[in-house]
Subunit: 189 residues, 2 copies
Amino acid sequence: MLNGGVPSGGPVRWEKGEERVLAKTRVFEAWARHYRHPVRGTEREFVLVKAPDWVNVVAVTAEGLVVLVRQFRHGIDDFSLEIPGGVIERGEDPVAAGVRELREETGYSGTSARLLASVHPNPAIQDNHTHVVLVEGAAKNAATEWDADEEIEVLTMPFDKVLAEARAGRITHSLTLAGLFHFEPLAGC
Amino acid sequence: MLNGGVPSGGPVRWEKGEERVLAKTRVFEAWARHYRHPVRGTEREFVLVKAPDWVNVVAVTAEGLVVLVRQFRHGIDDFSLEIPGGVIERGEDPVAAGVRELREETGYSGTSARLLASVHPNPAIQDNHTHVVLVEGAAKNAATEWDADEEIEVLTMPFDKVLAEARAGRITHSLTLAGLFHFEPLAGC
């Protein structure tokens, strides 16, 4: 049955048990979840970060420029160049959330918006998704509406320049990189 | 001085203050960190997830096949197809950590290894890096050495097939996608 430790059918699905909260914050929660391995019989608690789903937006203008935001990020205690995005509100459609975050952060809106991809920030320890929304025909049509602590520089850049910045290590947010990865085939890599 | 809320020099660096731990786990810690905005004068506590740096490995065989791992991931409570990787030990070199994780998880080692890129899992709420290591000339030279709870299916696949799997939504780990993004130019996209 076991083949080098992996059952012949491949890795086994652990059985999920009870879970308990370790810490709640405004942005995420830390939880511990009990699991049992159905073949080995081992029982263990695994920890995870729970958060709402997030959305990232690849917004492209009629001229083919991509909208980027530069802001101070408290996680890394430094500035970060990223595609716009944020937290999806409870019950909110991911595409609607992307359109809203794009407008609030940058003042841009587009002529069309659609879901490009959905990724996991970190399957090992996070339960949420980041949805990647593509907005085309983007233009600055409104004033920004920042949250109290936001302060955002808005830039536009041709996609090949965005790729070059990312590959040179000047765009480091893995969720932005995942968005660029999914947009790349549409841009004609 | 303020231009649409952004100081003329761009977004301002917040001043970091004291921090306090909210929860400690085996894998990550939740912290709150005090910040002051030097222009607005606002003071706020921001929360973050602290973790050691992580490493991901793009391992390519002499035949151009990429080494992938498939395992059950407790964060998403489901299986995930990824490039190999793990936690960098305290004081360990990222490339050495990548070589070690590749060997332990898959039994593969290569003829050369180098740092391809360093990304941030999430600059907004995480302080750590994921380093992407490229291992070339990879071959299965040893037995796997799994941690007690690991159970890993090892696969190899041509890079264009890996890209197709990722773009079809069957590889969803953003840190794996960031690794593929950085390897893509070397593979001749």
